[in-house]
Amino acid sequence: MSAVELLNIRGSCCLETAGVRQHLEDLMPGNTLKIFFDPPLRQNMENLAAEENCEILHLADEGESLTTTIRKKASTTKMLKVSPVADYPTEEGCFLRGNHYSPLAVVVLLNAPYGTMPPEVKSIPSEVDKLVRSAIETGAALSGTLQTENIGIEKVVCNIVGNPNIRYIVLCGVDVEGHHTGDAVRALVENGINERRTIVGSTAVTPYLLNVPRKAIERFRKQVRLINLIGEMNPEVISKAVWSCYQEKPTPFLNYMLSDPGAYPEKPISCRLSWRVKQPESIEKWELEDLVKGIEGEEKAASISRKKEVMIKVSEPEVAAIASHLSRIAEELSQIAKILLGEAEAKAIALVKEAPVMEEAKPVCVVKEEAPAVVAPAVAELTEEELYFHNQLRAYPGVLAGLSACDKDICHNGLSLPVAVNSIIKKLSKLRKDIEASSISEQRRAEFLARIDGFLEAAERLPTEPGPCQKTLGNCTIGKGCLATGAADLLKQVTEPASLTKSRR
C-alpha cells in the first residue's frame, strides 16, 4: 500500500513558498500527498500537479478551504536522446533505417562467398532479409548485413558513432565463412585494435581497420554494448532482443539485462571511410607497419591543420573585403553558368533536330574506350554447346603464354614442357574435331576454328621433342611441382558446362 503524506498550507499565498513543489518533486511514484489549501490557489495547484507529473485524485471544497489528494504518476525517467550527425548514416551499405532515437542497431552476418552479391545486394537470402526487416519493424535504429571483417566493420563503426543514441549492437546470423566477421566484431568490442590497427584476438584473416580514425574506433567501443547472438537466425529471438534493448526498466534477455540507458554522453562523431586502403584483404602482414605509420602521420597532420584553421582570426574590414570578392566571383560564376546553359540548350535543340537521321544511320551501340584485344561474344547469346567451346578456348591464351615463358627457362631443354605442349596440341585438335562435328552456327564455328588455328600455331612453335627431366639432372630445384605442368593445368579452371555430351543434351 502506498504512503499518504499530509501538508497543510492554509494561509499561504503561494504554493512555491509553501514548499508544495518540493514536496511533489520528492514524492515517490505511486505515493500520494493530501494538501489543505485556500481556494484562490486552486488553479495554481492544478498546474503545479501537472508540471510535476502528478495527478489529482480528489479535490473537495470544505467551506473556507480546499482539500486535494495528489498522486505521483509512475516514473517517467528523463532519458537523454540527442540528434545524430547531420549526414547520418554517413556510410552507405546494405541496411534499413528505423527510428534514430532507438538505442540499438542490428547487424546480420551475411554468410555468402565474398563478391558473389551485386553491390546493391539484390539477391540477399530471404532468411537474412527476414532478420533485417523484423529488427527494423521491432524498433531498431539501423538494421543491415555485414560481410567483411575490415571495410564492412569500418562502415558499421562510422554509422554508429554518428548516432550516440545507439547503445547496443545485436549481432546475429551465421558467421561469414573464411572471414569470421562476427568474431571480428566481438573481438573489436572486447579488445579493440593494436598499434597495427588489427583487431586484437580476432580469428578473421584480415581484420585491419585502416580507413577510420582511431578515435572513432575507441568511441565505438565505449558507446556500444554487444549482444552476441552469432549463429541465431530466428527472427522472433532477434525481435525479443530488440524489444528488450529499448525498455526503460532493466529487462532480462538470455544472459543479458537490457534497458535503454539513453544517449552516450558525448557529441556524435561524423566520419566516413578515408578509402586510403581500398582492398585491405590484399594487405600483407609485413606491409602493415609502414602503412599504419603513413596513415597515422596523415591523421596527425590533418588534425593539426584543422586546429590551425580554427586559430585564424579575421578582422572586420578583411571580412568585408572577402565578402565583396566572393560576391563578384558568384556573379561571374552565374554568368558562366548562363553561357553554358545557353550552349547546352542550343546543343539539345540541334540533337533533337538531328535525332531521326542519326537513328536511321547508326544503330545504338556502346563501345568501351579500351576494349580487350579479344572481343569475346556475350555469353548470354551463346547456346550451351557454344558456351562449352567458348569457355574451353578462353583458357588457352594463358596456358600458351605460360608455356612460352617456360620455354625461355631451363624447361626449354626439359621433359615436362614438350609433354605439356604435345598434350595441349592434342586437346586443341580434339576440340577442333568436336567443333566441326557440332551443330553450332557457321559463324561461331568459323570464329572458334580460327582461334584454334591461332593457338595451334603458337603451340607448334614450342618444343615438342622431350629432353631429359631437369629435376633429374639437378637443374630444377623448385620442389615437386613443375611450372610447365602448372601452366597447362590452367585448363582445369574450366569446369562448366560440365562436358560436351551434357551440353548437347
Binding site: G115, Q279, P372, A373, V374, N391, P397, G398, G481, Q493
Partner: protein
C-alpha cells in the same frame, strides 16, 4: 640462399605471361585479375626487401634485384579496366568456380624448395 630467390623468380615470368594473356579477355574487367596483379606486385616487392636484407654477395644481389625490377615493371603493365567487378557476378564469366587469374597466381605455389631463409 640465392637458390631460394632464383627459384621464386623462375615462377614469376610464367605467372605474368598468363596474367597478361588473360588481361586481353574479360578478365581485364575482373577483380580476380586485379587481385592477382596486386599479389604479384606485392610478392615481388617483398622478395626485393628480403633480398636486400640477405647476406648474398653484392653482385649476385644486384643481378637478382634487376630481375625483380624488370618483373615488377611487367606486372605494372598488366592491362586492367578502371572499374573492376567480379565477372562471374556480372554474368560474363561462366567457366565454373575456377578463375584463370587466381589459377595463374597459384603457379607460384608449385615452388616449394628451398624453404624461405
Amino acid at each position: 640462399m640465392s637458390e631460394y630467390f632464383t627459384n621464386l623468380l623462375r615462377g614469376y615470368p610464367v605467372v605474368l605471361a598468363a596474367l597478361k594473356a588473360y588481361s586481353k579477355d574479360i578478365c581485364r574487367n575482373c577483380i580476380g585479375l586485379e587481385g592477382a596483379k596486386t599479389k604479384v606486385e606485392k610478392g615481388l616487392k617483398k622478395l626485393g626487401m628480403d633480398l636486400k636484407g640477405s647476406s648474398l654477395p653484392k653482385e649476385e644481389k644486384e643481378a637478382l634485384l634487376a630481375r625483380i625490377e624488370a618483373l615488377s615493371k611487367e606486372a605494372e603493365g598488366i592491362d586492367l579496366s578502371e572499374d573492376c567487378e567480379c565477372q562471374k557476378t556480372a554474368g560474363n564469366c561462366k567457366i565454373g568456380t575456377g578463375c584463370f587469374s587466381l589459377g595463374a597466381l597459384d603457379i607460384l605455389k608449385l615452388i616449394t624448395e628451398p624453404a624461405a631463409p
